[in-house]
């Protein structure tokens, strides 16, 4: 019988340290059995359970885009038992991934609309997946203007620095990079909190959907900015986190109201969240 | 013990009216026979639900730790000793609490009553002085309370509260000639293999619900050792070795602090004689340090202090 708890074996292909405090690393995985990659077909917004035998599993958003073939990448923050062990692993080590799990950003609804993406800190991972997917030539024409506001505490804490710089140069995407503060005199981009920069750069909610992904404090201050612009709760999209174990809506631990964050989420619109108990 | 119920209500009302307390912690009558529910009353209009009888075998001091309000609380002998321990361990300040002392005549072991009626369903239990009447659908029987006391109450030598702001009755005579460690001595005499078998059988039913730990006023650690994950000290499955580790280590953490209130045994859903773990440690503290927990505010427990004349026999 098919077993949704059984991970696909993968090998760590590449490890990149993303941030200056070394707490965030991007891991690129390659499937040991090539046919597993097809079975793992995913959509930006989804997550997977990274499974390390002897340690446990962790739910991490998928950072690579389905347009990138041959591998899957995840950016992981060092926080606890499993993530610390993962950070000490080497290229070539074997582990497992289970997925893809959860729902995805509302791509059907986003077609034909202006897409606003607001991200902060290391919540940017599934947003990278979304951006690469959107600007891929096969997909770009489906969307109108794409505007991204992404910030971190300092320049050293930004993820995917090279790609950010690349996107900033492109003219089919309005990229606004910001940091809370910096002493670096050569800092080319914005300085200011994400909600502040969002208020500056986003001028209209017309035919637009906003995806907001970041620490609770960032969401708390960005939400009123978007609402003032005229975004109705149905067009503000959030991605939540929760402690998870099974990831498939069976073990019962990640519920908010009658919704499982692992199965009915992690992507929810603000309109949905307003109906749900405020317990996250 | 029913006589205290009215007095508790009156005292609580008085304390609210005099603004001496913000909260009053007591019991209210349970919805099933032989059970009562701990309750906290903040509204003087609700003091009528306060109740007391011989089925108040939980330990209300469990609800005291780290509270910041002014609290009135009912306390019998063993419970009052737990309050002393809490004060010494800085879990509550003496000024915060108003202790309503109750000289206790012992609590009834509800499981012994069930056995006595051969497990027929009990619908109602009514206390009457030193007897109690048990009614079922098709039977009625009267029992003598003395024969159905909880294990710890039968051998209790501290029935009167040791600390209180007011006491609701005359002190009762303390029992003499009772040996609370009779069963501990029997276990001490067993050879290691028999001891191992005894304890293995004792915890074989444990389902790791942690009711014992959670009902114990001594267990107030923000994160219990069984819940640590970095590193993980104890496994979380029903594996017998992990279960044994939990019970023994918890007992050691209670050494010199346990007042044998019996709450752990009362709450265990599987009917495990929980006190077999802690009583040995209580006996050791008495033998080695002449110590019984919670009797005085002036001395710290033996595992807290070092005295030059502490016994050294274990150093070989």
């Amino acid at each position: 019988m098919e077993n949704p708890y059984l991970p696909y074996p993968v090998r760590i292909d590449k490890i990149i340290t993303e941030t200056e405090d070394r707490n965030l690393k991007t891991f690129r995985f390659v499937f040991l059995n090539p046919e597993d990659e097809e079975k793992f077909a995913y959509t930006p917004g989804q997550f997977a359970e990274l499974s390390i035998a002897g340690k446990g599993e962790i739910p991490i958003g998928i950072a690579s885009s389905p347009t990138e073939k041959g591998f899957v990448t995840f950016t992981v923050n060092k926080t606890g038992l499993v993530t610390t062990y993962l950070h000490n692993m080497n290229e070539g080590d074997v582990m497992g991934i289970r997925g893809p799990l959860g729902n995805w950003y509302p791509w059907d609804e986003m077609e034909g609309k202006n897409v606003i993406i607001v991200g902060g800190g290391f919540a940017f991972t599934t947003l990278r997946s979304s951006i690469i997917s959107m600007i891929d030539p096969a997909n770009r024409s489906k969307f109108k203007d794409i505007t991204v506001v992404y910030g971190a505490r300092t320049p050293g804490m930004l993820l995917y620095k090279d790609e950010l710089a690349e996107w900033e140069q492109r003219d089919d995407i309005n990229m606004h990079i910001t940091v809370d503060g910096t002493d670096d005199p050569d800092w080319k981009y914005n300085t200011g909190f994400v909600p502040t920069i969002t208020e500056e750069k986003i001028t209209s909610a017309d035919n637009a959907i906003a995806i907001v992904c970041g620490p609770p404090i960032m969401i708390k201050f960005t939400q009123p900015v978007l609402e003032k612009l005229g975004f109705p709760p149905e067009r503000i999209i959030l991605s939540l986190e929760m402690r998870m174990k099974c990831g498939i809506g069976i073990c019962g631990r990640c519920n908010i109201g009658d919704q499982y964050v692992c199965k009915d989420g992690p992507v929810f619109s603000l309109a949905q969240l307003k109906e749900m108990p405020s317990e996250y | 013990m029913l006589k205290y119920a009215e007095k508790i209500k009156e005292t609580a009302l008085k304390l609210f009216n005099e603004n001496r307390v913000d909260t009053f912690i007591g019991y209210k009558k349970g919805s099933v026979p032989m059970m009562n529910e701990p309750v906290f009353v903040t509204d003087p209009d609700k003091v009528d639900q306060l109740y007391w009888d011989s089925f108040c075998g939980l330990n209300l001091c469990n609800y005291l730790t780290k509270r910041t309000d002014k609290i009135g609380i009912v306390a019998n002998g063993c419970n009052s000793r737990n309050i002393v321990t809490h004060i010494i361990e800085n879990q509550i300040k003496r000024e915060q609490i108003y202790i309503v002392g109750i000289p206790c005549e012992g609590m009834i072991d509800h499981r012994a009553v069930m056995r006595a009626v051969k497990y027929k369903e009990i619908l109602n239990v009514q206390e009457n002085g030193d007897k109690f009447l048990v009614k079922g659908a098709d039977f009625e029987e009267t029992f003598e309370k003395e024969k159905f006391l909880q294990g710890n109450c039968a051998t209790c030598t501290h029935r009167n509260p040791v600390i209180y702001d007011e006491i609701l009755g005359d002190p009762v005579e303390e029992q003499t000639g009772v040996d609370p460690f009779k069963d501990v001595k029997k276990i001490e005499e067993m050879d290691p293999a028999k001891k191992q078998a005894f304890f293995t059988r004792l915890i074989s039913r444990c389902i790791r619900c942690y009711a014992c730990r959670n009902s114990c006023p001594l267990c107030y650690c923000p994160t219990c050792f069984v819940d640590e994950s970095t590193p993980q000290w104890v496994g979380k499955s029903s594996d017998p070795t992990d279960t044994m580790t939990f019970h023994f280590l918890r007992a050691y953490h209670c050494a010199g602090r346990c007042t044998d209130c019996g709450a752990c045994e009362r709450v265990c859903p599987m009917g495990i004689s929980m006190r077999q773990f802690t009583k040995k440690l209580n006996k050791d503290c008495q033998d080695l340090f002449s110590w019984e927990a919670g009797l005085t505010l002036d001395q710290r427990p033996p595992l807290d202090v070092y005295k030059p004349d502490d016994y050294n026999d274990f150093i070989k």
């Binding site: 708890y5 402690r243 073990c251 109201g257 | 919805s31 309750v39 389902i207 009902s215």
Partner: protein, 345 residues
């Protein structure tokens, strides 16, 4: 649908015969209470009981179950790859289970066996188990199965139903699985009309004996956030010890934890019953805990059982009225009172 009468001795003989085909589980007296245990030399069945303390959910869903195993020995070519542990799904029969516990399996099945994901272990254990229920002639004062869509002789989910007629048992096969089991027992005689009538009367009078009243009719129409923010939760939760008694004894509670345990170079991935009552249940790696207050956890349990499940599956509450939580809660928090409060809020 076979209806057969057995004398009580014939039935015990029949149980012995069943052991050739099934792993048979029966209620056995264990100290002060009954537990479902395998029927073998050491364990004598005792059907003269109201209900077991631990629900028989552990026959299908054990408290600790090894899911996967792996080796961490790098010399092994399959190191670090988790592999399914071999399982034994040979047929089992749980005999003497009460209809409330059987209805509970149907309630829990919606969680473990749904269109998107099927839990292979729960589903295969359940499908290989035949449920032979014993109707309750004397429901307890704490039972309320009739209030939640069940009943002391409820047939939902049962393969065979036994009516205890005093000197004899009337056995009714309800499903193919049940008929297959009855086919393995020789003896017994077809039930005559009088026996059938007596059985129906028995069932009807048993239902009338249930006195607890917990209305659940208005739960579905309530607004979730109204109930969530109601003022009565702090008061309900005060006494709660946040132990696992209610969740572990409850036949409809299903939450579990997955743990990896390693000894030397070999390891297992096991699942254990977990409880929303425990503070660790929702603790994030970052240290944030959405339910770090006791009353939030108590609220979660009752909201889940009486509201979220109702909304999610539109098939009644997540409770079969067995009454175990009412009788065994160490501080006497009574779900009947809470449900009344919620339904009438």
């Amino acid at each position: 649908m076979t209806d057969k009468i057995f004398s009580k001795e014939e039935w015990l003989g029949g149980l012995e015969a069943l052991r050739k085909t099934y792993g048979v589980f029966v209620p056995v007296k264990d100290g002060d209470f009954h537990t479902f245990m395998p029927f073998d030399k050491g364990n004598i069945p005792d059907f003269d009981y109201q209900n077991s303390r631990l629900s028989p959910k552990s026959v299908v869903y054990p408290q600790s179950e090894r899911l996967f195993e792996y080796t961490l020995d790098k010399a092994d070519s399959e190191a670090d790859i988790v592999k399914e542990s071999p399982k034994d799904y040979s047929p089992r029969a749980v005999v003497g289970i009460r209809p409330c516990d059987v209805q509970a399996f149907q309630i829990v099945k919606r969680n473990f066996d749904n269109p998107e994901y099927r839990d292979p272990w729960w589903v295969q254990h359940f499908e290989s188990t035949t449920l032979v229920g014993l109707g309750c002639n004397e429901p307890c004062s704490t039972c309320f199965c009739t209030e939640v869509g069940g009943g002391p002789f409820n047939q939902e989910g049962l393969d065979v139903l036994i009516f205890d007629m005093g000197e004899t048992y009337l056995l009714r096969g309800l499903t193919d699985k049940g008929e297959a089991l009855l086919g393995k027992i020789t003896g017994g005689s077809p039930a005559d009309d009088q026996a059938l009538k007596n059985a129906e009367d028995l069932a009807a009078s048993a239902s009338k004996k249930i006195t607890s009243s917990i209305p659940t009719d208005k739960l579905k129409e309530k607004v979730t956030n109204d109930l969530f923010n109601a003022p009565f939760w702090e008061e309900i939760a005060f006494a709660c010890l946040n132990c696992g008694t209610c969740t572990f004894l409850c036949p409809t509670c299903w939450c579990f934890d997955i743990q990896d345990e390693v000894l030397g170079k070999e390891g297992d991935r096991i699942r254990n019953w977990d409880s929303c009552m425990f503070p660790l249940f929702t603790l994030h790696g970052s240290g944030h805990n959405p339910r770090d207050n006791k009353f939030q956890r108590v609220r979660q349990r009752f909201m889940h059982k009486l509201k979220y499940y109702v909304d999610k599956y539109d098939n009644g509450v997540q409770c079969s009225g067995c009454g175990r939580c009412v009788r065994y809660c160490p501080v006497n928090i009574d779900i009947r009172e809470v449900c009344n409060l919620m339904n009438n809020y």
